[in-house]
Amino acid sequence: MIDENLQFALSQYTDGTLAEGERAAVEQLLAHNAEARQTLDEYRRISMLLGASIPPLPSVDWPQLTQRISRAIDRSHSIPGSAAIAAEQAASGTYSMGWGRRPWMFAMAASLLIASGIVWLSRPQTGNVQPTYATANPSVVIEPVRVAQVAEIRVLQGEIATGPAVVEVSVGPSGRVEQASLWQLYPEVAERPAGISIAGGPGLIQRDEPYAAY
């Protein structure tokens, strides 16, 4: 078994990277050492196998690749006026309307669009669809407010509760009436219902406001 130093030298000899003196010494040794020759032969075959195991690169359109990379850089770094983007737009027949040069304008337009959507979605119901906030006591008024799924209950005159407080709340577009014996959950509603907000889905109380003094 030849030592590791000689194996290392043989590896460099395979690559032709040995200094002149070292190369001569290795060649002298190879002339008398069959094991060294065998090792060198196997190193060479490994190099040959490696070189042959991967075929040459398939043809690549290099100018197109340059343009593709350049465009990717322009996009990722927001360089809309670049030559690469202009070339792409010319090729695809699309033209900038100037928005790209003024991102703040685009952002403002997007914000306005979103705000319009919110206003439209939270607009009060009109026409035949009326919110069903009914109370048995005319002194109790439930005022719908312009926030989805929130109603504010105010008691105009103080009174002593004679039975369980029942509030009928219609929530959502289905108009389904949900009944809730609120006093069982919140006795304060019957005892001193000055103001309460009911928020959330059908039958679900998520939040109540601090009550005013009764």
């Binding site: 196998l49 490696l50 690549v60 322009d74």
Partner: protein, 216 residues
Amino acid sequence: MDDVSKHAEARQARDGSANAPAPTDAELVGQVIAGKRDAFDELIRRYQKLAVGVSYRLLGNSQDALEVTQDAFLKAYSSLPTLQQHAAFKGWLMRIVSNLSLNKRRGRRKTSLLPTDDLLTGNDGAGQAGATSGWMAKDPDPGHAMESKELGERLAAALERLPDKQRLALTLFTVQELPQKEVAEILECSVEAVKWHVFQARKKLREMLKEDLLEQ
């Protein structure tokens, strides 16, 4: 001399572009950092072929190599201000290419240095269309070709088992034929260390493929 040639010559003389030396990497990097975006396109043109080649040698798939190359240039552009030695752009870029290739390789956990179908069309190597690998294409004997293909697969599997640095050193130096100095820059080590990595890789491959090599 015809009119067209005269005009071209006159234009070159006017522009001073006739014998203007190409800008160095360091100059181009400096221009990009100073805000001249187009200078980076020249760097792309200069090194895209090498980048694709290095990545392809490491991944064995041309599509992946093209993706890695694009990502590498993107990353290089973003990180250019951090490059302290502008003249070292080439080695630095190839280091990015190598690292991204290794990451992709780890990500897909697919071991194949053998060609994939996408390489079989539009090959630079004439007459290889229809062959299942470059290895087979170089061997006209069908029986020998089959053995060679199997050996190529075992070689690919053995390469996969090498530590990253050893595989990189061997592939970049032996297959991609980069000078050891450039391999050293990519691996961030000395030339002597590159020689050692190549030797260790070779030694391990020899042990793993001992029987195959003896049969040859």
